[in-house]
Amino acid sequence: MSGPSDYQPSNPALQWIERRLPIFGLIHSSFVAYPTPRNLNYWWTFGAILSFMLGMQILTGVILAMHYTPNADLAFKSVELIVRDVNYGWLLRNMHAVGASMFFVAVYVHMFRGLYYGSYKEPREVLWILGVIIYLLMMATGFMGYVLPWGQMSFWGATVITNLFSAVPYVGESIVTLLWGGYSVGNPTLNRFFSLHYLLPFVIAGVVVLHVWALHVAGQNNPDGVEPKTEKDTVPFTPHATIKDMFGVACFLLLYAWFIFYMPNYLGDADNYIPANPGVTPPHIVPEWYYLPFYAILRSIPDKLAGVIAMFGAIIILCFLPWLDSAKTRSSKYRPLAKQFFWIFVAVCILLGYLGAQPPEGIYVIAGRVLTFCYFAYFLIVLPLLARIEKPRPVPNSISDAVLAKTGSRSTPMVSTAIVLALAGSLFAGSIDSAKASEGSDTPPGNKWSFSGPFGTFDRGALQRGLKVYKEVCSSCHGLSYIAFRNLAEAGGPGYSVAQASAFASEYKVKDGPNDAGDMFERPGRPADYFPSPFPNEQAARAANGGAAPPDLSLITKARSYKRGFPWFIFDVFTQYQEQGPDYVTALLQGYEEKVPEGVTIPEGSYFNRYFPGHAIKMPKPLSDGQVTYDDGSPATVAQYAKDVTTFLMWTAEPHMEARKRLGFQVFVFLIVFAGLMYFTKKKVWAASH
């Protein structure tokens, strides 16, 4: 894409094409011979990583769309069926959902890199603005994608975000009706979001082409911010940049795979495993993590319209960055002050993100306001001012000079690091206290689970005992509607044979029909049937249980969670702690107490439970010692029942968990070897250039 090329393919067939459509010349000049600055560091591989992620999202997305049903009544179920029944559906879904987050991780790194090295400055303004447009499109796509599973967070996230437009004076309400295609978020909304979610990635791909084109016209920026002058300053794109990018992608894949295979739900919200319910707002609505800084800005402004303007302004302001920062020196490497402020700005963004996830009260609101001010001050005050008062260090004459001088100068320890740490520390210290005070329930104690950790497998005995507990106790009120009898005989499950599963199924009566006479009839269950629900519909369940419908248990261990709080949620990434749901469920089953503690009032018809949010639960104590007889000699105690049934429910929530962890290990072995090979190849290729 950098002008006409003199490349001529040697193969006559390719020559024939080349004369009519010079596509090989275009590829050659853009991705093979293209001169790239020789001092690029690894932060520059994120461009390739992003292209890779875009391809990945489109590929997995197209396949997922073949199995997904965009209908308000069926969407939630169809996503669950993808995960349970489609071949490698769980993998596709995890790749796509985690992929969205990883895409944003990469784009944020890419943007901060541009910010640090001044990649938006003359002559790359258009390149930068195209990037901001891609970012906006990504946000829209990500938001609409999050709506598609039609869980509680999907629904209420959609409600809150679309309502942002109602802040527009005069026409706001009609814009919102137009977005919804109805009087509230509903089926028409889901349909159009699906359509747009399918369309926008291709629009992104189009803008990416423009972005790359503009990049190849202006040339890449580089860590020293001086334009290449001679041949000596550059290396050809292939093999140098290609191999380095491959190594970068391989390392990024390791991170990606960590989440896909070991913590697929870490970046999501437990509430999204509850089907959308227009009648109940979840107590705490949070958008996906990548919107959190902007959500925090929105909430810290007490006026609705001003809040919305500030939120969008926070993104749009990036478009004006090339003119707000008029300093001649590009790279912050040579701008001592700008470098400090850059890191402070990074910290401000991260802290805003943290605040966006916290309830809007007390210290959080004040901190949010201060940080919002800091965010805008960076662009509107600090950068314009620095351009005037800062005295940059001298930049090297050329890139090759910079490469030669590199051995000498090591950057001095940064004051800003200390500032950032102090800031973060104080804020978190404050937040932990208030978080503790506001919790309405006790934190469930941790347990040892057979299925935790990278090599976890289900304890077959526990699964079989848990099934018994479910059948004899829970099933009188709770459904298990995503589990079919055939699942009991599948690999990674309770380990029954097909014959045992059929026998188990035939003990149930299943409604079928209509028959030839047009009547519904009952017949014994078959392996393909699903566990029948105890109530015909939600209203009946509600009426029979004092107003609180017993939830379906298929997904309960994924749909329940409790707040881990700082710093645990960071450690969890490394320890792969994913068992909040099971911990909560077992704790709840054992958390009943006869004596209501002082100061807690429990309404009529409710029971006191230590771990239930708000303590007043409608379900009476379900388990008591000796209630279910075990044939294998395990103790018939409440603690054992609770543990077994929770293990069973973890399996119902994710029948393919063992396959996921097993494949994860293989993928990791492969990726580590691959990344190693790439690294040594890269060293070899670059040996002459360093």
Binding site: W156, T159, N163, S166, T177, T281, D303
Partner: protein, 138 residues
């Protein structure tokens, strides 16, 4: 992309029987996919709503203007927070009215905004009394 004909047709007026709602209780019905709170207010709640100085409210409106005269005990409001559209919880918050869990808006016994980021009072849907114990919404 505006609502299609069937969506509009499904949004036709509905009738609600008020007789089963005891004093101090409230029900939630859905109209056009929106939750509508119908509350049977107690004497105390009505007095609270009328005692405030209207001019001091963020969105000044008297309680009389928000209910039908002669049926002062009935408050009918759209249960959608005017901030960003969550459903406020009835009988919560420091004004004995509604409390929105999303960003903490508090409404009083007349559904008027008293605290928090919401800009205006809970909207009153179009409705009239068909008889003393029955209303038509829409």
């Amino acid at each position: 992309m505006n609502p299609d004909a069937s969506t509009i047709a499904a949004g036709a007026p509905i009738e609600v029987d008020l007789s089963p709602i005891a004093e101090g209780q409230d029900i939630k019905v859905f109209w056009r996919g929106k939750p509508i709170y119908i509350s049977h207010r107690t004497k105390k709640q009505i007095e609270e709503a009328r005692a405030v100085n209207v001019a001091s409210l963020p969105d000044p409106q008297s309680d009389e203007a928000r209910v039908k005269s002669g049926h002062d005990q009935w408050l009918v409001v759209i249960g959608i927070c005017t901030h960003l559209g969550c459903i406020p919880i009835a009988h919560e918050g420091s004004y004995d009215g509604f409390f929105c869990p999303c960003h903490g808006s508090v409404y009083d016994t007349s559904g008027r905004i008293r605290q928090g980021p919401a800009p205006s009072n809970l909207a009153v849907p179009p409705y009239q009394f068909v008889s003393d114990t029955k209303i038509q919404i829409g």
